[in-house]
């Protein structure tokens, strides 16, 4: 085991796969010589050379288009979109080209590519650099969507994403870059499509993603210590493919569901999970399903404002208490 930060785990995951397979290449803005604006990819160009790790101009459409072209002709490219908000700049290439082409062409080619992006708020960057957009990707057939919450999962899930034969959008939560955790040394792969139960409980299921996982765990502590409520916390980790089995097993045990997400109020990933549970586990439920989300606004930049609008452990506790008998 090594103690790595979340950002170090990114480079570790990429390096692991680049060592394994020389078809893996990596491009993006300021990712090579500078090691990434968030210092997530330091050392990669030094180890793998300028042909495999390349800096690009500021040209998201070109970056993602080239990634697609390379993926359909034998390479396994990784691209970085610096801030996930910028996906909007090249969204055509992601959703009209990458996501649809295999299907439209009767399966003639596949796209073993990964696009990683720094996602989410909490860093006081303002609305155009703080949104969590994994829900945009979840809504598009043909894209796999992953969002790790810990350094170990960064390395393991990124490795799996790089190995995956399909397009994977890998969302790193920027507010977590500095967090540290144990990461297995050597070969480490975490499968896509598997949620993780981080804490077992019997009274309510709390499903969270990425940066919200810690807040859910903190809420679970408070609920147990101060209110005697036993919460089961699930880190969903992978939105597509979605581990409905784990979530459903949990909710049928606890009969209550709360989701915690950074997406704005409408059409976040929590809405989809809630809807699936409401439809398929209706008769198991003791109370309404509650989503704890950011309100339906862009994120404000001042620290006091941003902290006030993002979901917090306190808000999760309040939501659960409201559900309690």
């Amino acid at each position: 085991m090594a103690q790595l930060s979340y950002r170090e785990a990114v480079a570790a995951g990429i390096a692991q796969e680049m060592r394994r397979d020389d078809k893996v290449v990596f491009i993006g803005e300021d990712i090579a010589a500078a090691g990434g604006v968030f210092k997530t990819t330091e050392g990669l160009q030094a180890e793998f050379g300028k042909l495999r790790v390349r800096d690009t101009p500021i040209a998201e459409q070109a970056i993602i288009g080239a990634t697609m072209g390379a993926a359909m002709t034998g390479l396994k490219p990784i691209a970085e979109i610096m801030f996930s908000d910028f996906f909007a700049v090249c969204w055509d290439l992601v959703v009209n080209q990458i996501a649809k082409t295999r299907y439209m062409t009767d399966g003639q080619c596949s796209f073993p590519l990964v696009i990683r992006a720094a996602n989410g708020g909490g860093a006081r960057f303002g609305a155009q650099h703080s949104q969590s957009v994994e829900n945009w990707a979840m809504a598009v057939p043909g894209l796999k969507v992953v969002a790790p919450s810990s350094p170990a999962d960064v390395k393991g899930l990124l490795a799996a994403a790089i190995q995956d034969p399909d397009p994977v959008l890998f969302f790193e939560q920027k507010s977590l870059y500095g967090t540290k955790g144990d990461v297995p040394e050597g070969d480490h792969i975490e499968p896509l499509g598997k949620a993780k139960i981080l804490r077992e409980g019997s009274d309510v299921t709390i499903v969270a993603l990425a940066a919200m996982v810690r807040r859910a765990m903190k809420a679970a502590d408070t609920l147990q210590n101060d209110h005697g409520i036993s919460a089961e916390v699930i880190d969903v980790r992978s939105l597509v493919p979605l581990d409905t089995t784990t979530i459903f097993e949990s909710v049928s045990k606890t009969a209550r569901l709360v989701t915690v997400e950074e997406n704005p109020r409408l059409c976040g990933w929590g809405a989809e999970v809630s809807s699936l549970v409401a439809e398929e586990l209706f008769w198991d439920l003791e109370g309404p399903i509650v989503r704890v989300t950011t309100p339906h606004i862009p994120l404000p930049s001042a620290d006091a404002l941003e902290d006030a609008v993002m979901p917090s452990a306190e808000k999760v506790v309040a939501a659960v208490l409201n559900l309690a008998d």
Partner: protein, 396 residues
Amino acid sequence: MDVLMPQLGETVLEGTVAVWHKGAGDSVEKGEMLLDVETDKAATEIVAPATGVLSTINVQEGETVDVGTVLAVIAVEGEVAAEVAPAAAANVPASDAPASVAAGLPPKSSGGKISPAVRRLLKQHNLDIADISGSGRDGRVTRHDVLDHIDSGAGAGSSAATADRIEFDRFRKITAEHMVRSKATSPHVLQAIDVDFTAVDAVRMRKKDDWKSDKGYSLTYMPFVARAVCLALAEFPKVNASVDGESLLVHKDVNLAIAIDLNHAGLVAPVVRDAGSLSVSGLAESFNDLATRAKTKRLSADDLQGGTYTLSNPGPFGTLFTAPIINQPQVGILSMDAVKKRAHVVESEAGDAIEIRPVGILAHSFDHRAIDGAYSAAYLQKLKAVLEQSDWSQEF
């Protein structure tokens, strides 16, 4: 041809299938008895609307559905059997009915809502939510409450060794609920008065044999008491009233409900509308009609609604007096117990003497929110006076 849940009363919105007399696949003839349906204590027989084969039964015994729901389908020769959606709630046709009525489980007696998880457990274990106390917020029955109830063996005959378990049928459940609610609603006061039925008997004895042979049923004390009640209520109208919030609704007519026992299997109280306009013989006829229909399950829901005062008559069993429970939303109920020959002091100018007289005790429960003891006592005094001093031959 569809067999629909009928509307058993103007303001009735749903009904329960009580008994199917035919099974799926049986032949039926038009007019043949098909099933019994019940609403709040009224039961009605439904006959087959056509001759054919009962192809599907959509609503099972014990299920409650909205008026208009397709209960079953009769395949009539030559008719194409249409696809019937299973027991879907239909739109309620009643003119001033609310938009929708929940079908499914009977209303819970605990406060709060029934969650899907609780609903399912109740159905799976054949439990009535009224049996389970709710520990949830606002008295809600929670999933754990149901599970604890099951675990405690309450639903599973744990006391078989020392007692036989008789599940409450729908009548019993409804009666139990009404009685508890009535006591919880009205502060009951019992007041009684004894009545000398000599004047009544002077007429009744003369008439009863012919009455019996003409009409086929007996002329009892009851219509006399009912007549006296109507006359007394005309002078003491506040006894013929209902409490509505912080007002008393004094009803213009006396709609007299009479308690009828159905062979110890339940109690109904059908109503004689505008009883004050009827004579003793009219009342006797009405009582007999209601009793007959009650016992043959042909009361309509409207027969059971709108009562303003109730008369209960356990007298035939020889009881002394009874403290009856008010039939909400009324404010008074009168029990007439046995009329027996008693040694009774009769005053006269010649002095006091003890005579054998037919005497019965009328016991009145009243709601002390509405009236006070003196008012009720005055009413009873009037009642006694009417009974003891009227010329009852005028009523025939």
